[in-house]
């Protein structure tokens, strides 16, 4: 019934609000038998007095009539506050969240994009830049090119180091078996008398390999690269194609520092190293990081503010709604640790968008010199520390479970319970295909995070899945974030209960609670 009242009234009138949502304010006015001529705008104050916009004379008080107050309590509409003038907002308490500043017209809504290294934040940021920003300038493209070039040498050095390690292990193993059983050299598979194995690299690459590993170890890589890229380009390609390195690459799961994009770039070593190289869009998105210094990156943009909810309100609007400005801020998580001081600078963000790569559930992670742990667990710990941080006490969080495509591929080969946190995952059997199992696993992971979030702060966590490399997926994710912000604005006046299911992103917009199902 309330729904019917709602749709009837809203098409005729518009009311500006400061503290209460416009829906029930409208109903309030109707109940109080206030004349609401078409196209008039009213201001309603929290003590119930109202005036016509621009008129500056109080016309009356909404809650004067007992009938109105009765209906208010019947329909769970706002009732007069016990202390009509409220507590004077203490000007000395400087907290970014004490006043809903985000409701101020024209204020930029800041969104903090954050996640563990490799969770996809830089890809998402770059997609947003291509979707809503001005793309990449010449200077930015040049920087990305340099970044790709110097990263390529980083990948190569990880492979060379891994190769040395595997060679060492293989040779020592063979030495011990040689020692135990007096087997002739010819019976050894892949070994000849010269102490070689499948990981032994062509000797002429040795000097370069030693030199590269040295400068990596000393932290001097950026003293030489990308400046020396062209000089060493041919050798990079040859080394990458060397059988020893290819064998090493087969065990890339054991090389924790080698990202999955390494092959993509090393395959194009010659093209990348040339002076004329211009990164394609795909290269830009695959490249690790946004800028070489990996400092803070931010873009400002506005959406076309068209969501199903605002459309209902705006039907009779003469002028278009003012576009909300957003500022997407992405920080490299490398600098984050306990007691991090600079997080306080983000106290005023409108929402925190936390990214987790779903495909991390079976990967290992080492933070600096600490012990190795499961990467998903490391993500969870970072998530937890953000949620608990005093600066984000009242900030809504949106969780993006990213790399869904890689996750889908992996889920059938590697069980989800590889990660301890997911040890009680019991998929419904039989599952016919990847999709069904992946969907189940995704919901399970989302629920785990939601439960964690709720146990810390008692609020609902909004979750969505993304595939960082598909632009449409990122566009959907940001539309979802926008919806979340709108729900958050109106949560205090929430007469329509948002139940758990609606905090999942679903592709059908009609599942939003603010639209009645016909």
């Amino acid at each position: 019934m309330l729904g019917t009242i709602f749709s009837y009234f809203v098409s005729v009138h518009t009311i500006l609000y400061n503290d209460f949502g416009s829906t029930f304010t409208l109903i309030l006015f109707q109940l109080a038998k206030v004349q609401c001529p078409r196209d008039t705008h009213f201001w309603l104050y929290d003590d119930g007095s109202y005036e016509e916009e621009g008129q500056n004379n109080i016309k009356g008080k909404i809650w004067e009539k007992a009938f109105t107050r009765f209906c208010c309590s019947l329909f769970s509409l706002p009732v007069p506050p016990a202390n009509p003038h409220g507590l004077q907002e203490d000007p000395t308490t400087f907290s970014g969240r004490s006043v809903p500043e985000y409701l101020e017209q024209g204020r930029v809504q800041k969104l903090l994009l954050f996640g563990l290294e490799g969770s996809g934040t830089s890809t998402i940021f770059k997609q947003a830049k291509l979707l809503y920003g001005n793309g990449f300038s010449q200077e930015e493209l040049q920087n990305i090119k340099l970044m790709i070039q110097s990263n390529m040498y980083k990948y190569l050095s990880v492979l060379l180091e891994g190769r040395e390690r595997f060679e060492e292990e293989a040779l020592s193993e063979l030495r011990t078996t040689n020692f135990d059983t007096e087997v002739s050299a010819s019976d050894q598979i892949g070994v000849d008398g010269n102490n070689q194995c499948i990981y032994s690299i062509n000797q002429r690459f040795k000097p370069f390999s030693d030199w590269l590993l040295d400068i990596m170890a000393m932290g001097d890589l950026d003293a030489f690269f990308p400046a020396a890229t062209r000089e060493y380009a041919p050798i990079v390609d040859e080394i990458w194609k060397d059988p020893a390195i290819q064998e090493t690459y087969k065990r890339s799961e054991e090389l924790h520092l080698l990202p999955d994009v390494a092959k993509y770039f090393l395959d194009q070593a010659v093209e990348i190293s040339s002076n004329e190289y211009e990164p394609l869009e795909k290269d830009i998105l695959y490249a690790e990081g946004v800028t070489q210094s990996n400092g803070l990156a931010c873009i400002e943009f506005s959406f076309d503010d068209r969501s199903p909810m605002s459309e209902i309100y705006n039907e009779n609007y003469e002028c278009p709604p003012s576009l909300t400005k957003y500022q997407l801020i992405r920080i490299n998580s490398k600098g984050l640790h306990d007691g991090c001081k600079w997080l306080e600078m983000f106290e005023d963000v409108r929402a925190v968008i936390f990214c987790v790569a779903l495909s991390d559930y079976d990967e290992m992670w080492c933070r600096g010199t600490g012990p190795i742990c499961n990467k998903m667990v490391a993500s969870r710990e970072m998530f937890e520390s953000l949620v608990r941080h005093p600066s984000f006490r009242d900030t809504p969080f949106v969780l993006l479970l990213n790399k869904y495509d890689a996750f889908e591929d992996k889920i059938n080969r590697v069980p989800l319970s590889t990660c301890d946190w997911f040890s009680d995952f019991r998929p419904v059997k039989p599952h016919h295909n990847n999709h069904a199992l992946a969907q189940q696993a995704y919901y399970y992971v989302a629920v785990k995070f939601k439960e964690l979030y709720s146990s810390i702060c008692g609020r609902k966590l909004f979750v969505s899945q993304t595939r960082g490399r598909e632009r449409a997926s990122i566009d959907d994710a940001f539309k979802y974030v926008r919806e979340v912000l709108k729900w958050d604005e109106e949560k205090d006046d929430n007469i329509y209960e948002i139940n758990g299911d609606d905090s999942f992103y679903s592709t059908e917009m009609s599942s939003s609670p603010f639209i009645r199902q016909e």
Partner: protein, 377 residues
Amino acid sequence: MSVPELKERHAAATETVNNLRERLRQRRNELLDTDVAGYARSQGRSPVTFGPTDLVCCRILQGHTGKVYSLDWTPERNRIVSASQDGRLIVWNALTSQKTHAIKLPCAWVMTCAFSPTGQSVACGGLDSMCSIFNLNSLTDRDGNLPVSKTLSGHKGYVSCCQYVPNEDIHIITSSGDQTCVLWDITTGLRTSIFGGEFQSGHTADVLSVSINASDSRTFVSGSCDATARLWDTRAASRAVRTFHGHEGDVNTVKFFPDGNRFGTGSDDGTCRLFDIRTGHQLQVYHQQHGDNEVPHVTSIAFSISGRLLFAGYSNGNCYVWDTLLAKVVLNLGSPQNSHEGRISCLGLSADGSALCTGSWDTNLKIWAFGGNRRVI
């Protein structure tokens, strides 16, 4: 040598180092028979007397719309530059309270600012991992903004603090969240020296502040989240001259004592400490008991011109004036009438020592001057 063998030797070496360190610590404790306060009392010294009228707030600089994170005075001519979360640097004339420049920054998340020795340029750095230099005399561009005259990039983490090397506008030292400090040549924009880093004996956590010795500008001290302060010589960047242990929390701020033989530090553990660079001893701890609840962090410190007074700003809005000799608080600038309404994030003393400026999260800066007959000490 094989990898497992190397690992064994590494573990053994680490243990030897730790044992030696422990022995050194014990030896040092034995040698420390007294601290500054103890010695001063034994000499019959008494604390400086300070009344509320001796240091008064004579100016309030209003103009920022966000928290003030950092400030710096010019070496002469009494101008102040301040950096704020609103993404601006404001240059103030301290005597008249006028703003001479309001510089919009390319990256709004700024953590530090500094005035050059000649007063012609200001530098700032923050979460963008770069240090930007602005020449105050250059022409503003079409939008009325002062252009960046130089960008110093190369850090792999945020720039937490920067200070120009005294007497010349060419070199600047920055400290960063990437655990290093860097000496830059501003004319070329290149790094002259890197102090610390992944495989060198530097800090093992974010470096939060630096202070250059005014008496010998080739030495500087840095404070870090690894709870140590390190002394460096710019001529030998590969390892720190000395590491000072003692704090139990992040060292947020370091400042050289006026005579250049000592320096003070302030930390998250709520204490300030005085260290001697020649002997390496911790000379004094400045600590006020509060009660069991939260210990306020020391956010910034400064010494008076003779060194007799230590000004310390805390995260709860207090600003204690310590008598450095007797380790007693002689004044609290954070008392109700005067105080800032938020945390004090930065403070600095003017070049002639006659005024103290404090900056706070309440977006204001306050200038305090020695009043009445009180002479500057």
